[in-house]
Symmetry: C2
Subunit: 230 residues, 2 copies
């Protein structure tokens, strides 16, 4: 039913959304994307048993989605902490981080400690723009995620996977949940976790048609929809 949006087209879609063509601001799209991640998490992982969420945020837009998700999770009653080793200097990201701090979300730069003291991991390291090589400290972080038994929720793309071709080797992470944004990327075909959600309910119909996407119907006012449950 859903078609896949390969890496090059995902980049083009992003440009179309934020150019004259559609007129969106990054702040709007990121707010809706991050919210949809938080909502997906709230549907699967009860805050009582999974309150301590460790959100690993990368240096780009995927990380920004993670910051927004962390803030909404805090409003929902979860207790997120952030691993955010490479913080972009630009105002947008500084603002997103401040918003987290003002919601009592703290940084936990000690990865081992963070993983040791959490019930759930959000992988917001790399998104559809990812291309190797992986620089440190993200290589180490992905190694740790590859070894943990704590459930991982990946935002849009399981970090370290090839966006179009999936896992590159056996050391790759195996998220329990994947929240695809806008439309699933081809690597989602190789996702073997339990819950595949789609979020980012903001693509105008004409644009979905132009990109030949066959997006599913979202229920009611929901910002996410469960695509499959293995």
């Amino acid at each position: 039913m859903v078609k896949f949006l390969k890496q090059s087209l995902a980049s083009q879609l992003d440009v179309d959304l934020m150019s004259e063509k559609c007129g969106f601001a990054l702040e709007q799209l990121m707010e809706l994307a991050g919210f949809s991640v938080a909502q997906s998490i709230s549907k699967v992982y009860p805050k009582k048993s999974n309150s301590r969420v460790y959100v690993l945020t990368g240096p780009g837009n995927n990380g920004g989605d993670g910051l927004v998700a962390a803030r909404h999770l805090s409003h929902f009653g979860y207790k997120p902490k952030l691993y955010y080793p490479k913080q972009p200097k630009n105002e947008h990201y500084q603002r997103l981080l401040k918003q987290c701090f003002q919601c009592d979300i703290e940084l936990e730069p000690d990865l081992d400690k963070g993983l040791d003291q959490c019930d759930l991991i959000v992988d917001a390291l790399f998104g559809f723009g990812f291309k190797p090589p992986i620089r440190e400290p993200f290589g180490n972080a992905l190694k740790a995620l590859g070894n943990t038994k704590i459930p991982i929720v990946s935002v849009d793309v399981p970090s370290g996977w090839d966006v179009d071709n999936g896992k590159v080797d056996d050391s790759c992470i195996n998220p329990e949940m994947l929240v695809s944004l806008s439309a699933p990327k081809p690597c989602a075909k190789f996702f073997e976790g339990k819950y595949h959600f789609l979020g980012g309910r903001f693509i105008p119909r004409f644009l979905a048609k132009e990109y030949d996407l066959d997006l599913p119907e979202y229920p009611g006012s929901e910002q996410c929809v469960l695509l499959s449950k293995i």
Copy 2:
């Protein structure tokens, strides 16, 4: 349970949210506020029987919330149209309007025709910043809303009401639903409609405390909460 946020404090809260103190961008807050209005509507007015929504948008931020709500309603399957006689020239509003157009939302500048052909009215003319006098064409628009039997949903403040003291005379509009944003304004005490929702789930706890707000718990990941149902 909920305390009221009078006009002067509502303005100050807005400043705090978007200043260094919290670091929000207008685009983020408006997206969440407008979404919460659309979600509230979807909970009460089924799209099958109330698909034709006429959104009356004023020249300020309340109008901006209306534009965002219209876009989300379109994603939910409603068929909104806009009455938007005074369109601000600044980029933010131009973008919000373009986003509506790209979701197949049209302008209906003929107020009589718009009211005649709709199932539901969204009043996003004036918000917490409102001070008289009312300039045309909004005086005429409010007169028409005062006489209609089509249900009206007011965004944050029933337009034309005094923000702190409620109705100014018998010609004032009587919305069936009120969606207060952030916290109810004092005029909400005089609201006699059926559904009073609270939306705008973005106030950090420390700020709610600082403003002595006693905000209700939102259920799950919902962006609105029903405060009373008469």
